[in-house]
């Protein structure tokens, strides 16, 4: 199973002297839910638009299903895109929107295929409606149906959920994932929402300033970030910069932390791995308690340093009071070592 639907080799794109995409190499497997994750301006959208053919690449190579895409216009590429703004045709009905790609391909059984695609996104019976009368979530489903109906090799999704409210977004996340499994289609999903990427993806490429920082499964990205950027962008964390001697790391403010690292390193402990009142550990004062329903965030002050602790709201932390002194500890295996 080493079949790749999309490969990018050393792809670079410059806009007005600035490298929007800088030497990106990626291989996206067939049938995989692949996310491009990064802050705005990191090049993820540009990268996707290059796969779709709306932007050309300055150097490097892009292949789709093994075929080189240099100079191939968008309408000859076997990829469809779901736009952030949906981009439904306002002069066409829902059914005609979905049928658009089929008509361009002069496909048979247009009505039947449109009906089945709409049923797949739970919009059966919406055929005659105008897209302008639909809610944001419904428009999103039409856009999805329109993009999958022709059965493209790859579906590109440009932050398709970002315009929707939280509840709807959660529902559509699960639905998108189900759809992708059912269709066994390769999805390339662009998002700046790390939770969304972690929840939905088979693999994630974290991007920063036009470069790929790390590629891996959601677990790998979260549990074993290879750079500080990834560690900071995905989830939150407590960082300790210091010098290691192979067994312990000493920070500038005098903490000694058990970690098998040598040289200048950054240590990361995720907030949910930290424990309060464990007996041993670093002394700290509770500065703020943020109640979040299912979980609690506690901000500690240890010397000049602020630490973030998160825990499930199981009652154990309910007794923590602002201003009181406590100790904070963690297991040595929960310390991640990042290069500096």
């Amino acid at each position: 199973m080493d079949e790749h639907d999309v490969t990018l080799r050393g792809v670079t794109k410059t806009f007005g002297g600035r490298r929007a995409v800088d030497d990106v190499t990626l291989a996206i497997r067939r049938g995989e839910f692949f996310s491009l994750l990064g802050p705005s301006g990191c090049g993820k959208t540009t990268l996707m638009r290059m796969i779709a053919g709306f932007e050309s690449h300055d150097s490097g190579a892009i292949t789709l299903g093994g075929a080189d895409m240099a100079g191939v216009p968008p309408h000859r590429r076997d990829v469809n895109m779901v736009f952030q703004s949906y981009a439904l045709f306002p002069h066409l009905s829902v059914a005609e929107n979905v049928a658009f790609g089929l008509r361009m391909a002069k496909a048979d059984d247009v009505d039947g295929r449109v009906g089945r695609a709409l049923a797949k996104v739970n919009l059966a019976g919406y055929e005659k409606r105008s897209p302008t009368t639909l809610s944001g979530g419904e428009q999103q489903r039409v856009a999805l149906a329109r993009a999958i109906v022709t059965g493209p090799r790859v579906l590109l999704l440009d932050e398709p959920l970002s315009a929707l409210d939280l509840k709807l977004r959660k529902g559509l996340q699960a639905e998108l994932r189900r759809l992708q499994r059912e269709l066994a289609m390769t999805f390339v999903f662009v998002t700046h929402d790390q939770e969304e990427a972690l929840a939905m993806s088979d693999r994630i490429a974290v991007m920063n300033r036009g470069r790929v920082e790390q590629v891996g499964t959601p677990e790998e990205i979260y549990e074993r970030p290879s750079t500080r950027f990834t560690a900071e962008f995905v989830g939150s964390g407590n960082f300790f910069e210091g010098t290691g001697d192979g067994r312990t790391v000493r920070t500038k403010d005098g903490l000694t932390i058990e970690a098998a690292a040598s040289g200048d390193v950054t240590l990361l402990v995720r907030p949910e791995k930290m424990r309060l009142n464990g007996g041993s550990g670093f002394p700290a004062r509770v500065e703020e308690v943020l109640y979040q329903g299912a979980s609690m965030s506690i901000i500690l002050k240890a010397g000049e340093r602020r630490l973030l602790v998160e825990d499930a709201n199981d009652g154990a932390l309910a007794r923590v009071r602002v201003g009181e002194t406590t100790t904070v500890s963690w297991r040595p295996e929960d310390v991640l070592v990042l290069p500096r």
Binding site: A52, G53, H75, M81, F83, A87, H91
Partner: protein, 245 residues
Amino acid sequence: MKGRFLSLLLPPTAWLVVFLVLPTAVLAVSAFSVEGLKALAHAGTWLLFWRSFWIAVVSTAVCLAVSYPVAYFIAGCTPRWRNLLLFLVVLPFWTNLLVRTYALKFCLDPIGWTDTGAVIFAIVQNFLPFMILPLYSSIEKLPARLLEASQDLGASPARTFWKVTVPLTMPGIAAGCILVFIPVLGVFALPEFINERTVLIGSQINLYYGQGNVGAGSALTLVLMVFTVVLTWLYARLRKSEGLV
């Protein structure tokens, strides 16, 4: 409250009555006169109507064909260039119509181009801005994402143009066509300047009034007005049925 509302309505109502309803009534009354009916019974009058009609149709079509690429190009420029080019489009309006027409005549006469084609050329040249401006404003509003979506779904640039760009800029096309067609239908002076034998309905009306034949002039004007109103009404119905309003 109600009294205040009515008092606000008074000035525009008075305006319409004095400058539209009354003149139209006077026009209608004088049209239904012996001279008026005589003019309408004359076969030559209808020939003039027919000639005016097809010249207006051809001029509008040529205007549309020439203006669409121009408007499309301007809409695609950077804002700075856009403003400059739009300024150039309306620049001819700074010159008097007669001056412009004379200038055109001095260009056309030496090369001997004075037939109906030259008349249409002159009309198109004069009315182009009325087509370019509404086209520009609707093309400029066209979201680029929709064109991308179309190509993404397998439509070549040409098919994207016919399937997405044209339908979505239909309001601009229709507005431009009305703005050109209606005045061209009643155009006078301009055609005779290029070719004195090209008499259109507008010139004939001018001629009748000039001769003091108010009845005949009014009858022709009334027919022209009714025709224009019917066309505009048909267009409004068409747009409504297409759900574009």
